[in-house]
């Protein structure tokens, strides 16, 4: 089954939101990436055909944005923020700790394909740094203990209760 057939309804829904087809490009690339973990060449071609774009037009858009992978990432893609605000409160220590724990550097994946590490710029959680994003979830106010727990949780259950909920900081004072 092709990508377009597999997500026929979802794609139709996305297309209905825009008066100009090309606007659906980024949303469709997200669908493709969710399917395979990265945007495959065949998905790119199908999307190009659907939106009446040339493959280079799709490719130039994909390569501009950092969130699209052109090759598979680890099951858990760890992205640690290294911008000034997180760096002031210790993001470099977090990166070093992950390197030691997983034995990989930025841009690398563990041999079992479970984790990959990236060092990224600001993720809009400056007040709760140091922080990282793993797949779709934010993890904030990281400490070495917290990091250990998160990695253990992910290995054993695939998720961690330490992930952030709706953002609120500072929290209201309880009366």
């Amino acid at each position: 089954m092709t990508f377009l057939e597999k997500y026929k309804d979802e794609i139709a829904d996305i297309l209905s939101r825009y008066p100009v087809r090309r606007s659906a490009l980024i949303p469709l690339l997200y669908v493709a990436q969710r399917d395979q973990g990265y945007v495959t060449e065949s998905a790119m071609q199908e999307i190009a055909h659907l939106l009446r774009l040339t493959p280079p037009q799709v490719y130039e858009t994909i390569t501009f944005y950092t969130m699209f992978n052109l090759k598979p990432a680890g099951t858990f893609h760890i992205q640690v923020c290294k911008s000034l605000m997180c760096a002031l409160v210790g993001s470099d220590t977090v990166i070093e700790w992950i390197k030691t724990k997983l034995g990989i550097g930025p841009g690398e994946s563990t041999a079992d394909g479970l984790f990959s590490l990236s060092v990224v710029e600001c993720l809009a959680a400056c007040g709760t740094g140091p922080m990282m994003q793993i797949n779709e979830d934010y993890y904030e106010q990281l400490t070495e203990n917290k990091l250990d727990r998160i990695l253990t949780d992910l290995r054993s259950t695939g998720t961690s209760p330490l992930k952030s909920g709706p953002f609120m900081w500072p929290e209201p004072v309880k009366t």
Partner: protein, 434 residues
């Protein structure tokens, strides 16, 4: 604490408030919409907003009502509202909280803005990383649609408003309004040359308004309580209302604090954010996100409003206040921000694309104690040739950390270079390109 009435963060500070439609309605939510649609003429809504003095909360601070007034009045085709939720400025995290904790407040503002400008379609361009925020907004839109606040014939008024969430994909530049429009059209997020302005040639070349999340969230309150009420808060006449300041860095209680504009940095840092984390003296702060020049302890009594911060040589920008304690290397801090700008330059304009690369390489060399005294002149010369010579304001933003740290802490650069010269380590090593 807080000593002032909260407007935008008030609901979410209540115990048990979930941000659901039921919760929002209980606090008087959507009353502004009920009292406006079909009862106040769209042009009058614009006039109310203009009278309130509300200025854009995204960074540029342009008066919102005036911006709406630029739309062509006699244009018959579609027009669009884009909610700029691409919060990516280092130091800023307020829109995230507004969207995740009280999404209906933002949605009500969006529908009101759509009504005022005559738009039937609004897109919320949210930064791609904020997956949780986009899910919460999608859910809230579903609730509002079911309750008749969004969709065809809103509240029986004959007005149609559709709101869609559009996730970006990790590009800082897409917070710039024309780059946002390009990105929303499915292209690379490269800023457009202005004029023409989005007011006449925006999304799909149609009249378009781009407003920040916090700006829109203010609208229901302005409509309900009147422009005079809003205009009396803060530092009238030019900086009215409150601002949600995001305090980060070396403070005891970092976070989002909503205060009337005109509060001093000292009050915000020492009374609200609890003062310095390790009780070391404050060494430097940025008053308005990474694009704003650094200021010193001598500026602690500067009022946080558009004019006073500008007069002090910086800008209020997106409201991201980052505080650094004594002992922080200013060369390092400027380098960290420079690395951000180097990574995020979209590449459209040569001065910014090439200049950011040269700046970051020179800064890395100085910080690695391989700098030369003439590097300082090179840095300033580069800055001069980038700022004001690019399509968007990114060029001005990227030189701010370097120019301001060189202005206030030049001796730190000089010390590093002197060390390099004393150790005869001045031979530069090639720096890996990205």
């Amino acid at each position: 604490m807080p000593k002032h009435e909260l407007i935008l963060l008030k609901n979410m500070m209540q115990p048990g408030y979930t941000g659901s439609l039921a919760d929002y309605e209980k606090t008087g939510g959507y009353q502004a919409l009920r009292n406006t649609l079909g009862k106040i003429a769209p042009a009058d809504v614009t006039a109310i907003v203009r009278k309130s003095g509300l200025r854009g909360r995204g960074g540029a601070g342009f008066p919102t009502g005036v911006k709406w007034g630029f739309l062509p009045k006699d244009y018959q085709g579609p027009r669009y509202l884009c909610c700029n939720a691409d919060e990516s400025e280092p130091g800023t995290f307020k829109d995230r909280q507004l969207m995740e904790r009280d999404p209906h407040q933002v949605l009500e503002g969006i529908v009101l803005a759509c009504y005022a400008i005559g738009s039937e379609t609004a897109y919320i361009y949210i930064r791609g990383e904020m997956v949780l925020g986009s899910k919460i907004l999608e859910h809230a839109i579903g609730e509002a649609r079911a309750a008749g606040y969004i969709g065809k014939n809103v509240l029986g008024s004959g007005i149609n408003v559709d709101v869609w969430v559009h996730r970006g994909a990790g590009a800082y530049i897409c917070g710039e309004e024309t780059a946002l429009l390009e990105s929303l059209e499915g292209k690379r997020g490269l800023p457009r040359i202005k004029p023409p302005f989005p007011a006449t040639h925006g999304l799909y070349n149609k009249p378009t308004v781009v407003n920040n999340v916090e700006t829109l969230a203010n609208l229901p309150h302005i409509i309900t309580r009147g422009p005079e009420w809003f205009a009396a808060i803060g530092s009238p006449p030019k900086s009215t209302g409150t601002r949600v300041f995001c305090v980060s860095g070396h403070v005891k209680r970092p976070g989002n604090y909503e205060v009337p504009m005109g509060m001093t940095v000292r009050e915000l840092v020492y009374e609200y954010a609890g003062g310095m984390r390790s009780n070391k003296p404050l060494k430097a702060f940025i008053p308005g996100g990474a694009s704003a020049p650094f200021l010193t302890p001598a500026h602690l009594d500067v009022k946080l409003d558009f004019e006073h911060v500008a007069a002090a040589g910086s800008m209020l920008g997106s409201g991201g206040v980052t505080v650094m304690e004594e002992g922080t290397s200013m060369v390092w801090a400027a380098l960290r921000l420079m690395e951000f700008f180097y990574h995020e330059s979209c590449g459209k304009c040569s001065p910014c694309r090439e200049g950011s690369s040269w700046l970051v390489q020179t800064m890395r060399r100085i910080f690695a104690k391989r700098g030369r005294m003439e590097d300082l002149e090179t840095l300033l010369d580069l800055c001069k040739n980038i700022a004001g010579r690019t399509v968007c304001a990114f060029g001005d933003a990227e030189v701010a950390p370097i120019q301001s740290t060189l202005k206030h802490w030049r001796h730190e650069y000089v010390d590093l270079i002197n060390e390099a010269e004393a150790a005869n380590l001045i031979r530069p090593e090639p720096v890996a390109r990205r």
